[in-house]
């Protein structure tokens, strides 16, 4: 009996030693981190646009799905012509906004001369001018009052040489005193045949 007990103790010691060796070996795998994490959770919700684009009385605009982008297509002539109601910008809520047209890109701006303005029938502010193949941008915001409508006007459009001028712009819509803004893509296409 004594021998059996000794043998059991011997086996237990061997087992403990084996486990100890394996456990100590695992300690080598411990790593430490040296940074902490700040977490930011962001909910994005698709909303109805508070400001929408609409075709205006000159009937030269094509409004795309969702009413947040448009293309204005006008055929120029050799005589200067003005289209003061090319596109409507409609503010459907009781908030005040600031808007401006920003140049993005262009193709062949040599074919026409024109001035693009924002106006509300009382006041107007020029936004982009094309003259002699050179474009200029005002970069000044125009007010869009609560529940108001303003218009994009194409003034003094005159053909210079045959071809199509494409002007890609963004209508930047900004909350006053903030830097939150939306960008609506508006493309101008001016064709001229001598």
């Amino acid at each position: 009996m004594k021998r059996i007990a000794k043998q059991e103790i011997f086996h237990s010691v061997l087992l403990v030693l084996a486990l100890l060796i394996l456990t100590l070996n695992l300690v080598h795998n411990v790593k430490s981190t040296v940074y902490y994490t700040n977490l930011s959770e962001n909910y994005q919700t698709v909303i109805q646009p508070l400001i929408i684009l609409k075709n205006d009385t000159n009937n030269v605009s094509n409004i795309y799905l969702s009413n947040t982008s448009a293309k204005i297509s006008i055929t120029a002539t050799s005589n200067s012509a003005t289209y003061n109601y090319s596109l409507k910008i409609v503010n459907n809520n009781a908030s005040h906004w600031e808007v401006k047209l920003e140049y993005d890109d262009c193709i062949d701006i040599i074919h026409v001369n024109t001035t693009i303005v924002l106006h509300n029938n009382i006041s107007s502010l020029w936004q982009i001018k094309i003259e002699g193949g050179i474009k200029r941008q005002n970069d000044t915001y125009y007010d869009l009052a609560d529940n108001a409508t303003i218009h994009i006007g194409v003034q003094n459009l005159v053909g210079i040489s045959s071809g199509t001028t494409i002007l890609h712009t963004y209508l930047r819509i900004k909350t006053p005193n903030k830097t939150t803004y939306a960008l609506y893509e508006i493309t101008f296409e001016f064709k001229y045949n001598t």
Partner: protein, 184 residues
């Protein structure tokens, strides 16, 4: 009573095998002894409200929850969605990392085109970005940004740009969780 030599032999084999594993591993790794004292640290770089932080947002030092919007067929940009203030007297290194996005792999995802997070310095120059874009019903995200040094006592910003496709369904929502890691 005879001694059980067979059983003993098995245990000795087990011991030898253990020694062998430990010895082989020891040729690959070595250990440094370390004593650690744990102290509750200060959150030196913390979230703060900024010019474009929506009013419904919740901000504490180490967490923030922003309620943002996205418009169909147009970009909506929150230039200063939230501030990151380094209150430490020296440089701290920070980076942006993806944590989770939901839903993912289901139909509502197609109501979003992209959500981009930009890390802007105090002169509003982009230092790093984390971009979430969709393809069908799935989101993909760019890899964790490099560490960027934010100077002492300086506020940087996270800019968020959202874009939804034309015809996106109003009211659809997604949740994106990102981490701003700060090196101690």
């Amino acid at each position: 009573m005879k001694m059980n030599y067979k059983k003993s032999l098995k245990f000795i084999t087990l011991l030898l095998a253990s020694l062998l594993i430990a010895t082989v591993s020891a040729t690959v790794y070595y250990s440094l002894s370390m004593q650690t004292t744990i102290t509750v640290g200060t959150t030196w770089v913390k979230f703060i409200s900024a010019a474009d932080t929506p009013s419904e947002s919740t901000i504490t030092d180490a967490t923030c929850t922003l309620s943002l919007s996205t418009l169909a067929n147009s970009s909506l940009v929150y230039e200063k969605a939230v501030g990151l203030s380094n209150t430490y007297t020296g440089i701290r290194y920070i980076r942006l990392q993806h944590v989770s996005v939901s839903p993912n792999g289901t139909a509502p995802v197609s109501n979003f085109t992209h959500v981009k997070f930009y890390l802007l310095d105090n002169s509003l120059t982009v230092q790093a970005s984390l971009n979430y874009t969709t393809s069908g019903d799935n989101w993909s995200v760019t890899s964790t940004t490099d560490w960027k040094a934010i100077p002492a006592s300086t506020t940087w910003y996270i800019k968020v740009e959202t874009f939804s496709p034309a015809g996106a369904t109003a009211g659809t929502q997604c949740t994106i969780e990102i981490a701003v890691d700060v090196q101690q």
